[in-house]
């Protein structure tokens, strides 16, 4: 039990460290944000005044402390560039990303798990070979390329689905979902490949264990034997799945870029292009938090599925 509290604590520490690291980086860069925001012709005194307003004259540590206190109090400040409320921007973009990434994972699980299981149950069969080819291709092919290809051939060529990935729900459920099909397919197929590989490996490992032989020796029907193996094969897969959810935000970034989906990852990319440091700070923090939460969720899931871990060491 304490293991998990400890891991959670370290995750929080990691979060602070990351935020500090990014904060430091943004202040190490030569040239101040003022040069980005203000006109090049602005007189010197105005620049200095602007900088003082934004606390840029204080030492980095102090600036960080101020930022930290503000953030923990819920005040995320304003974007230097757009001057929109950061919290508002996040509130707008997070659900978008969560929705389409979530759907992708749903697709990945629904397709990937059975594929991996069947592959393991019939190793060497044509199903297995095809599944493994799909899996290797799925994890190796860059998502942004798949996305572009899908847009080029399916959206433009065939015209089945729109090339833009985001249509708000207010425009109707049909168009909303239809726009999501291609991005969800892109990310979903990738993770289907990942999951099917891990499921296959894990299931094969489980099937080679002694207890499977005992189960057969006791005359249990095949489906029950496979369930025995599956119950042991799932925890590592759940683990990988949850960690992948965290990693998926990087992939999401590329896909949102291609499809123009105004989600969290694209917000980060835009912030980087615009040198909007507060926004960069905050989005990295949010994405890292989600990643950490996903890992914790994986650990908790392991705890639930694997009775051995419940014993204290």
């Amino acid at each position: 039990m304490w293991e998990y509290v400890r891991r959670a604590a370290f995750s929080v520490v990691a979060l602070f460290l990351i935020s500090f690291l990014v904060f430091c980086l943004t202040h190490v860069v030569p040239g101040s944000p003022a040069s980005v925001v203000l006109d090049p012709d602005t007189p010197e005194e105005e620049i200095l005044e602007w900088e003082r307003d934004h606390n840029l004259h204080l030492p980095v540590i102090t600036q960080y402390k101020i930022w930290l206190v503000n953030t923990l109090n819920g005040d995320l400040g304003e974007s230097v560039i757009t001057e929109r409320d950061l919290a508002g921007e996040l509130a707008y973009s997070i659900p978008i990303t969560v929705e389409w990434v979530g759907l992708s994972f749903l697709l990945a699980v629904v397709l990937g798990l059975p594929l991996g299981i069947i592959s393991a149950l019939k190793p060497g069969s044509w199903v297995d070979h095809i599944a493994r080819v799909i899996a290797i291709t799925g994890i190796s092919v860059p998502d942004y390329w798949v996305a572009l290809m899908l847009v080029a051939f399916v959206a433009v060529g065939l015209g089945w689905f729109p090339a833009g990935g985001f249509v708000p729900l207010s425009s109707g459920l049909g168009p909303h979902l239809s726009a999501l099909v291609l991005p969800v397919l892109t990310l979903g197929l990738h993770y289907m490949a990942v999951l099917s590989r891990y499921t296959r490996a894990s299931m094969l490992e489980a099937l080679s264990q002694d207890y499977v032989r005992t189960a057969r020796a006791m005359g249990l029907p095949p489906w029950q034997v496979w369930l025995y193996a599956l119950k042991n094969a799932l925890p590592p897969v759940v683990n990988v799945g949850a960690m992948s959810f965290g990693f998926s935000f990087a992939h999401a970034l590329f896909i949102e870029y291609v499809f123009g989906i105004a989600g969290l990852s694209l917000a980060l990319l835009n912030a980087i292009h615009e040198l909007d440091y507060p926004m960069i700070q905050v989005t990295v923090l949010v994405i890292t938090s989600i990643f950490i939460l996903a890992n914790l969720a994986a650990d908790l899931a392991n705890l639930a599925l694997n009775p051995k871990l419940r014993q204290s060491r």
Binding site: R213, M218, Q311
Partner: protein, 322 residues
């Protein structure tokens, strides 16, 4: 002798090694009657475990039963469909494996695993199945059956786990129990307890037992008759008394001699069988034991030994000790 409980004839089992098939079991024949306790004695690699697995048709999928027949209660097992033999496994014909920790599913409670077996073979209600489960756990000497039912395998001690495993094997009243080195993974004191449990099961239930081991003493305690295997062949068979007092085959003789006894003189050298058992794909002509045999004669290296019979005994040696 006609309606023996188990009749194995000329069983041959082969596995792929490199590009060829190698025989792990090379023409094994023996029989067991109801009420018998037969021991199978041999080193690692003698083919004893593979024989047992072959009887239940549980050899790994890479292997193949290339020849022979196995008849159980008059039925031919090898030609049976998988569905039919599944009905026999765990019910009429049960097996207990060597390592009780890995034999159980670590993710399920013992009770669940026990119930699954009972309900797979009988159409009992849950209550009856539970009652039978508790009964069986008590039968194998577990002090708190209800607690064991709720426990996960890793929560029990080695001895308790093995008892539980035996319990599962007995849950549906099998006609024959095959025990493959059931005590090898346990401490010596626990070993004795398990052997005693088997003893009790034999006397109280009249359990028919095929007991596979490499430990002569344990086998001698439990079994009336024994089969000695070497490199996939049966080299000798007979009553335990006969085997110990007047072993015919040199291998049997040396096995017995190898075990140090308290009564032996302190400065007596330990008897050792020089050399190693042949690899699975050995194809030498003649007796496979000849390279290590102290009483080897020329014929041994050329002709495969023929079986000689002596009443209830048999042995396969050109130069037996008489």
């Amino acid at each position: 002798m006609d309606n023996r409980l188990l009749e194995v004839s000329n069983l041959r089992v082969a596995f792929p090694v490199g590009n060829a098939m190698a025989e792990a079991v090379r023409g094994v024949s023996f029989g067991i009657d109801t009420g018998d306790a037969v021991g199978v004695l041999g080193e690692s690699g003698s083919g004893k475990s593979v024989t047992a697995l072959a009887i239940l048709k549980l050899i790994p999928s890479t292997g193949r039963i290339t020849e022979g027949s196995v008849r159980f209660a008059g039925r031919d097992l090898l030609s049976m469909s998988e569905a039919n033999i599944r009905k026999l496994r765990g019910r009429d014909l049960s097996m207990v494996f060597q390592d009780p920790l890995t034999a159980f599913n670590p993710a399920l409670r013992i009770g669940r695993q026990l119930l699954n077996v009972i309900r797979a073979h009988t159409s009992s209600s849950i209550q009856n199945a539970r009652a039978r489960a508790l009964e069986v756990l008590d039968l194998v000497g577990l002090p708190d059956p209800a607690r064991v039912m709720r426990a996960y395998p890793h929560e029990l001690s080695g001895g308790m786990r093995q008892r539980a495993l035996i319990g599962i094997a007995l849950a549906c009243n099998p006609k024959l129990l095959i025990a493959d080195e059931p005590t090898t993974a346990l401490d010596v004191t626990i070993q004795a307890q398990i052997v005693e449990l088997f003893h009790k099961l034999r006397t109280e239930l009249g359990l028919t037992l095929l007991y596979i081991t490499h430990n002569l003493d344990l086998m001698a305690e439990l079994c009336d008759r024994a089969i000695v295997m070497y490199a996939g062949n049966i080299v000798e068979e007979g009553s335990v008394t006969d085997l110990f007092q007047s072993p015919r085959h040199p291998y049997t003789r040396m096995l017995i001699d190898c075990v140090p006894r308290l009564e032996d003189a302190r400065n007596r050298e330990l008897t050792v069988i020089k050399g190693m058992p042949p690899p699975i794909n050995a194809t030498n002509r003649g007796c496979l034991f000849s390279p290590r045999c102290p009483s080897v004669i020329d014929r041994c290296r050329v002709d495969d030994p023929q079986e000689d019979f002596e009443g209830e005994r048999r042995f396969a040696c050109w130069n037996p000790r008489l």
